[in-house]
Assembly symmetry: T
Homo-oligomer: 156 residues x 12
């Protein structure tokens, strides 16, 4: 007799503007790994921990806001590389703050080595934490932290 | 006939001022895990990856400067939670910049949720990257990133 | 013989990002009334005064810009709760300034009690006025002010 | 046998410096309606809602402080056009914060279209909300908001 | 025997938010010429120099980011009037910096005569140069400069 | 019988401090073309459009002020590369503002890529427009814009 | 038969806080002449020019506001030494701006030699001009300037 | 034969705006002791040391200025809790500086824990010293310091 | 039969850098009393109130951090003259905040009369209160305040 | 037998850049009187008081520096309208400070009504005083003040 | 038979505005030694090291720019005391940067003890180094440093 | 008969944090000469002038404070390269200011070419002067200046 399988809890990975170009351009800043490869690594790491990882990228602030709102309903955690919108989007901040789903801010590059306007983040104060400068490993380190957080608070 | 064992490469973990109080005080900000426990977790994770993890804590800026200088000579990587000195110590920054050993800045709490003077870091621009806000997992996530970095560049 | 009825002049009510979540989230800041209820109240109040009230919400800055441009052509007045875009969107400001249709800026919460970056408004200097902090009544108070303004200048 | 009538709850309307000149001067900024007329309109609107509206004007910061203190004892709500003191008086702010009586800040002109020093308000953060730029209708819109607030919390 | 014609190299002209209203509104600031006319002039000037000029306008930051990314693949040069996004969009800056295609920033009005927030540009530091204040001639002057630049570096 | 020829209307091109070194020094910033060559190109372009182009260079702020005053009397337009004085000279600004002769500010390099103190211009707000970053083509583009402006307003 | 004498036009001289102590205290900053002596000199100089000079001093901002309002009705010119209120009173500024009576700001000491908070003046931008640093002669110099202004515009 | 008793030297205690509400309101910030009780404690402590303590409170800046001027004539020392005027009144500062009578600034609450605009004091630089944050004991501690100062300098 | 005496509760007095020079140097700023004398006075005053006063001085930030940590364990209250570290040490601030022991910040001189960088204090916001400018009496006044605080909360 | 006449003491009047254009340009800001007329008025007023008035104008900062140096040797007082150099020239400030000759800063227009960069003056802190906004009367008022100052200190 | 002597390599010493007054004025700041004496000392010290020292002084920014340009052609090193122009002249900075000749910035006084606007230097970032505060010895110390630099790089 | 030799007066040379690494690291910034070599050169130069040069290095701020205090007692002059502490240590500043021993601030690199936080110095305003950017010659140039200063004031 067949048992219905419980769907895996989801973790959403949202990539902001220009990250679709990853691996093709400015590889001295962002590294040579492309988004597909990062997503695949995250998918496997998530799966190993019992989560389904859903990855999306957009150049549109409004679309990212839509997705964060949806993530609050469908996911148990968010990894968000807001890219440029990190430094300019109060809308994205409000979307993160509007739900209970913990969010970790991720940056490939060390933003503190770059232009001053990249030092501030509208998102960080409403996120669980921030990981930056570790290249593609920023995402896996952030996933590590998110999973650790979830395991502490979600003890079903 | 006994062969001489090659000593493991070292990773130094340096904890700044007041971190000796970890787990006893302000647990709402810093969590309940104490320094000994964090060091032990890091030691095991390091060992599993083939590194010897050396942990030290000091309330003295000058002593931390001394240790960073020594780490550049003895270690292949540094995890540094500069705590309060993160925001005030140019001396520590200069010590980090004075060697080739990659350093990851670590914070237990999300500093961007706290007082404005904690938002700036003298250390971040000379570090590989920064991990903050993930509690004790900030250290393990940072170790993860450091190991990932070392594996990319040290292919002996 | 039946005369063709003149369509009512329109007032457009534009709600910015994350306001679709109204009543569900952060009710301590934004109150328990949802957008549908606010729109309905405004519709009735407008109708009583001889206006058709058209309500829209978007998380997309560009869409709000499109709508403000359209409102300048189709409506006689605008109520705009730019939400997060209030503080970051020069595009929205330029759209408001690009037409003659008077616009009142509305906020549910008292933005001056919140983070400093919410104290500035790119929109206010090109609006007729601003109403904030009165909860759902901010909208009706703003409608009151807009109608009063229209009655002074439109004396057909 | 005559029953003693319960006195109406009071709303105090406090006008700050130079508002005694209203309607005589700088009518392009402040409009042509004078203070007497505004007070009369507010009195009627208040009465219709079951409140006695008490109106006062002073050029003296200290006198406005005295009145706010008294309002906290005698009234259930305050409309305060602090005029110039809005931007300079911490004393007025402290007086508002020293009682439970809700206060709505009112401005005839849109202060955000004027000199930068008029953009900040010491009063706004301790008020319920702010209405500005709607001319004389700013007062009635503010009264509307105050009544709406009172009806939500005072359900005798 | 018919030879297959080599397609002309492309120059993309991207117009930002509210520029669709050109010639209809605020003609004292932006002049009376509409976008169609500007595009037509640019098309002819480009053609005369051996280029195909492709013109697009959007009120959406994300769409402009998409187009800049495409331009890097399809065009040899960009004229970009970011309008309001000039002053607020790091995303657009990152898109420009993410490719090799030279970009000239264009403004119809002299932005230095206007509000202080229009004096800064996120785009200028990653563009070849900036032309502002010459009305519709800003575009043709910028095209002139772009062609001069291309002729110096593209000597096939 | 010979008719007396009407002298051509003049355009003055004023070059500021250190521009006499053009083509010899810092060619990575300013290009390899020297001032003589630029002046010659402008002279020909001006002549083709029916103007006599008069070019001068000085390292002295006061001399540039004198020349701008004279240009207001003798010329119909000015191209001014104030160089360093762009960022420090209120005297030059006042001289430009003291006459009706339209002035276009020119920079060889893209000043927005350079030190912050080069981002501000005392001259720009009293000029017709600004062209920067196009190398020697900045001058010809600016001339193009000036001629376009003159043709719109001078229809003798 | 006796003709009724036309009363002299009035000039009001308003002295702000602590000026009642003049000549007694801090004579190194403010000089040894007391207010009575200054008023007497001004009275004679005014009389000689055909004006009645009315002098008042107050430590109360509100009283100074009242007097400026009255001066607009009764006088043809004001000399105002706002003293400390120069740097803090928007109310006084608004009172000056609320009438047509020209006002000259006066300071005994050279405020630019003193603390930075004395360098800014809320009053200066709405006054005819400012005289400071000439000791008691600041008042007579200001009167000179005011009379010169009145003679130019009042030519009955 | 009876000797005429020498009157006690006076210490004036001046309380600024809203301090009349002490003990009734915001007791979490200001404590439960009212002004009468504080004055009484100070009176006894002063008497024990051979001084007559005179206490006054006003919401009016001008009145406080008047009193400080009088204190310079009648008293040998001042305790001044300027409250809100501490942060806004240059007039009060000038009054303190205009005499030789030493003045100690007093605050019940620790102003450095509160809003940034309470961190600055116009009065402190012209006072002997500052005591804040000790509740009602701030006054007695300040009296202690004042007496200690007087005993060092007044040795008649 | 002798009873074992309960040790007195301790108050720690910590003096920061350069205070060992007290009484020898810059006596115009810091007075002529040396540290030994201040400590002795405090010891007697503490003893009279039933406390043992423990005094220490260090030029080393780290040592002061160590001592504050120890004081939290051994003492019931701290008087801390952080001297130069007041303005630069986040580490000292964190040490104070890391325990429950109330701390009063002390300064001999009136820091508000000195250089601007001495006006800010990292310590004040986490202390009970601040006493400054009363010379050696600053310490006794602070002790007075601390004892008053302890007597209110420790009523064994 | 003829006696040799003592030469009159000199007062130098130095006019800065663009003041040679006075009366011809921007008459709404600077008035219609030209420099010749102002100089003539000053010459007569000076002569009447027993001084020879020497007037000079230059657009060159260095020349003005030369003249101020000479004035310190030949004159007993200076009237200086630094015009644009008021706001930018430290050299002129140093020249004024380098001698004992009192200098009064003069402005025709009320600089506080103009651009913010005209609000600061490098010269004012080393001058006796400042007169601005009184048109041509600024010079005569300043002369009045200078003469008053000289009469107080030069009583030979 | 006489051999033709190789001319000595030159070091140019350029003195800025008001330094011609050295030794006569403000000797408390600048010392009693005059420029002639300083030049003579430098001439001897240079000669001893095998260099011809050429000294010039000007109050004119443009002249100093001219000389720096010439020095780049004729000299092997520059000592430049820009005096006031240090803090205001971008033109002088550009002239220094436009050549390869190393330049040492010199100040007689310790500029960091003086007004804040003297703390910044436009020249320092393009100079080899800076010497200030050593009086006339600043020049000889700077010469020492320049010679040391030249000896390291010029090994003919 | 043997005479007892007078010990040489001492000059202390204090090197701050990370200077122990000199010559090993970042030789592009700090040069190749190590501390030992610099000390040796200084020792010889000092000896030649009749002084004993004592050299010390520490990474500890407190230790440097201790040494400066001792130097005031044992030495006649100090050369201090505070390195990182130059920009952060008020304690070191206070130590310098606490004695009469003249101190010259030294930097190997030209700090004005580096990060903005290195442009400010807490030490400079209490030092005799500053020498920077001349490499190892900065020390010898500073010694030269110190000796020149001592010879002027110490004429035993």
């Amino acid at each position: 007799m067949a048992s219905k399988r419980q769907p895996l809890p989801q973790i959403w990975v949202l990539h902001g503007p220009n990250l679709n170009l990853l691996g093709q351009r400015e590889t001295d800043i962002y590294g040579r790994e492309d988004l597909k490869s990062i997503n695949s690594t995250l998918g496997q790491a998530g799966k190993a921990a019992g989560y389904r990882v859903v990855c999306r990228q957009s150049n549109h602030e409004g679309e990212l806001v839509d997705w964060v709102q949806q993530a609050h309903k469908k996911a148990v955690g968010i990894l968000l590389n807001g890219a440029a919108y990190t430094h300019t989007s109060v809308a994205l901040r409000d979307a993160i703050a509007a739900g209970d789903c913990p969010c970790v801010e991720v940056h490939l590059s060390n933003v503190y080595k770059r232009e001053p306007f990249r030092h501030g983040s509208f998102l960080a104060p409403v996120c669980l934490g921030v990981v930056s400068g570790l290249g593609a490993a920023s995402y896996t380190a952030a996933l590590h932290g998110l999973l650790s957080h979830l395991s502490r608070y979600d003890d079903t």
